[in-house]
Symmetry: C2
Subunit: 342 residues, 2 copies
DNA sequence: CTGTTAGCGCTTTCAT
DNA sequence: ATGAAAGCGCTAACAG
C-alpha cells in the first residue's frame, strides 16, 4: 500500500540535480550522457520513484497514448458480437505494439467531448447510434478513423457492401423465387418487425442499406421483385431478435424460397429454426448470410455467405491512426459457397 | 475541424467574470445562483466552450473517471472468449451507469505503473500472466478489486472452484472409470501437452488448480486414481489447442470412460471430435465442462457442466469498486445436468 | 551537457 | 456569492 508520493522536483532535490535532468533521463536519453542517465535512473529506482506522473504528462504534452474505440452501440452488445470482437482484437493488437492504451467508448453515450481532452485519437466502428457523436467526431481537431461508414474528410476503412450483398444474393436466387430479407438495423425501432413503409434510416449511416441495394439489384436481375412486407428489420444480431424474425418468416403463408440475411448470426438462427420446423435447407429453402464468421463454417450445412476480414479492418484502422494516413481503403470480400444456397 | 482553443481563463475574461465562477458553474452548482449559472452556461455554449479541459481536471483533481480492466492475458484472446466477454459486459454496464470510462489493459503488459497515474481504480480479471503486475497491484494506493484470484488485503469476487469441479466430476465418474482431465493453464507452456511431471503453476495463481483438486477428490471418492499422463495442459480455450488435446485423448489406446474438461469451450471441442470419430456420448464416453456458456446448452447432446454467472461477477466487481467495499464474496455455482455424463 | 523558468488548464481555499 | 492567487507535476525553451 505504499506508492510513494515522490515528485520530479523532490527527487531532483534529493539527488542534487535539476528537475530538467531527471525529466531528460526519463524522456530524452539524447540529452545527457549514458552513464549519468544510468546512475540517475538507478538512483530513482532505489528510492522508489518510477518516473514522471502520467497525468501531469498528459496535460503538459497534450498526449496520453490513449486511443478511444467508439463502438456503434453499447459496449455490452459489441463485446459479445463475434464480428465486433474480432475487430477489437485487430485494433488492440496493433495498439499494443505501439504502446497505446485502448479505451472502449459506447456509441450510445452523450458526447465524445468528455474524453476528447485526454485521448490521442478515435477509431469509430460503425456509425454511432447517437448521431450527435458523428457530428462531433467530424469537427474534432484530433485524428479520427472511421470503419464501415464515412465521415467527411476522415480516412475510412470499408468494404463494398452493395457488391458483396449482390454477389451472395445472386448465388442463391433463382428465377421465379419468392425472396425475403432479414435485415439489420434498417429502421429506427427497438423491436423485430417487417419494415412495411417505415422510413429507412439515413442511407449514409447504414451499411445495411448498401446491402439492401445489392440484394435489390440481384432480385431485379433475376426478374423478381420484393415488397416491404417481406423485409424484416432486426435491431441487433444477438438475443432473441433474430429468432423472432426467423419464426415469423418461416411461419408466413407462402413461405419464401430464398431468404437473404444481413448477418451470419441471423442466418444461423434462421437455419436453426428451419431445422426445428423440419424444413430442408437448401432443398425447400435457400439461405445466405453475411460476415463469414467461424461458426458459419461449422454449421450443418455450412452457410453460404460472404466473408469479410474484421481482423484486418481492425488492424488497418489502427495502423491508419498510428501512421496518420489520410486515405481511405475498401477491403475485398469473398464469397463462401457453403451449402445453404442450392 | 474547429474545436476552439478556449480555456477557462479566456472565457472568464470574455464574460467578464472570474475563473472560479466559470469553474463553479460547471462543477459546483451550489456555489452560485441558479440564474447566474444558467446564464454563464448558455454563454459558454454560445461561444463554443464545452467545459473545463479534462486533462487538466485529471491532474488537478487526481480523478479521471477511468477504470482499468486488467485482463489475465492479451486483449485479443480475452475479447473472443465467451466467458471473458460476458464478464466485460457486466463490468461495462455498471461503469456506464456511473459515468466511468473503461480502459482495457492486457495482463501481459510490462507494468501497470504506466496507467496508474491516470486511472481511478483497477478491476483485475484473473491473475495477470505477468506476475509482476500482481505485485504492483497489491502495493498500489488506488482501489483494486480482483476476480477469480486473491490479492492480500483487496476485495475479491470468486467462486468455489474446488467444490464446483468436485460436484460436476462426481456426477460423471462411476466406479472403475478410467478418467482423463483436459486442463486449462496448468503448467507454463505455450502448447497443448500432457503435464507428466512438469511443475504446476503457482497454486495461488491458478483457479485451474482448485478445479484440479476438486476433480481429484471426486476421483478418489470413486475409488479411482489418475496419473499425470492422463492430464492435459491447454494454454487457452480457443484456437486449435483444444482440438489437439481432444484428438490426443480420444486416439489414445485405452480411451478414458470419462473426460473432465476445465472449460465448456474445451468440452465442446471434445464433443465435436468424438462425434467425428463416431464415439457415442454419453454411451461410450462421458464428458463434463465448466462455465455454463450458452453454447453448451445448444450442443447436441447438451453439455453436463457447471454454471457460473460471469455477468454477475462483472457487475459485482464493478460495484465493489464504485462503492469502495472492502469485503470479498464467493458466488454460487450451479450444476447443469445436460446429457453428456450418463 | 545542465539549470532556471514559464506555463499546460484547472480547482480551491481564503478573503472579500 | 464572488474574486485573487497558489499550486497539481511536469516539459521545453532558453540561457549558461
Amino acid at each position: 500500500m505504499n506508492k510513494n508520493k515522490f515528485t520530479l522536483k523532490v527527487v531532483a532535490e534529493q539527488l542534487g540535480v535539476s528537475t530538467a535532468t531527471i525529466s531528460n533521463a526519463f524522456n530524452r536519453p539524447d540529452q545527457l550522457s549514458a552513464s549519468r542517465r544510468e546512475s540517475i535512473l538507478s538512483a530513482c529506482k532505489k528510492i522508489g520513484y518510477h518516473g514522471p506522473n502520467k497525468a501531469a504528462q498528459i496535460l503538459r504534452k497534450g498526449q496520453s497514448n490513449i486511443i478511444a474505440l467508439v463502438l456503434a452501440d453499447n459496449i455490452e452488445y459489441m463485446v459479445s458480437d463475434p464480428v465486433a470482437s474480432t475487430f477489437i482484437q485487430g485494433v488492440s493488437s496493433v495498439l499494443h505494439t505501439h504502446q497505446k492504451h485502448l479505451l472502449l467508448y459506447a456509441g450510445d453515450s452523450v458526447s465524445v467531448l468528455d474524453v476528447v481532452d485526454f485521448v490521442d485519437g478515435f477509431i469509430c466502428y460503425g456509425a454511432p447510434q447517437n448521431k450527435k457523436l458523428g457530428e462531433e467526431l467530424g469537427a474534432l481537431s484530433k485524428p479520427v478513423v472511421t470503419v464501415d461508414f464515412d465521415l467527411e474528410g476522415r480516412p475510412a476503412v470499408n468494404i463494398d457492401n452493395e457488391d458483396a450483398a449482390y454477389q451472395v444474393a445472386r448465388r442463391a436466387i433463382a428465377k421465379e423465387d419468392r425472396v425475403a430479407i432479414l435485415g439489420l438495423r434498417l429502421i429506427d425501432s427497438p423491436t423485430t418487425c417487417r419494415i412495411y413503409d417505415s422510413p429507412l434510416l439515413d442511407a449514409e449511416q447504414a451499411i445495411s442499406h448498401r446491402r439492401l441495394d445489392g440484394y435489390m439489384r440481384a432480385i431485379k436481375e433475376c426478374g423478381g421483385s420484393i415488397s416491404n412486407d417481406w423485409i424484416w428489420h432486426i435491431p441487433e444480431s444477438g438475443g432473441n431478435f433474430s429468432r423472432q424474425a426467423a419464426r415469423e418468416v418461416l411461419n408466413a403463408s407462402q413461405r419464401p424460397d430464398t431468404i437473404l440475411c444481413m448477418s451470419d448470426m441471423i442466418a444461423l438462427e434462421l437455419l436453426h429454426a428451419a431445422h426445428e420446423l423440419g424444413i430442408d435447407v437448401p432443398g425447400e429453402l435457400k439461405i445466405t448470410g453475411f460476415d463469414g464468421i467461424d461458426e458459419a463454417d461449422r454449421s450443418r450445412p455450412p452457410l453460404t455467405t460472404v466473408y469479410q476480414s474484421s481482423l484486418e479492418k481492425g488492424t488497418l484502422a489502427a495502423e491508419k491512426l498510428m501512421v496518420g494516413t489520410t486515405t481511405s481503403v475498401v477491403l475485398k470480400t469473398e464469397i463462401k459457397k457453403g451449402e445453404t444456397a442450392g
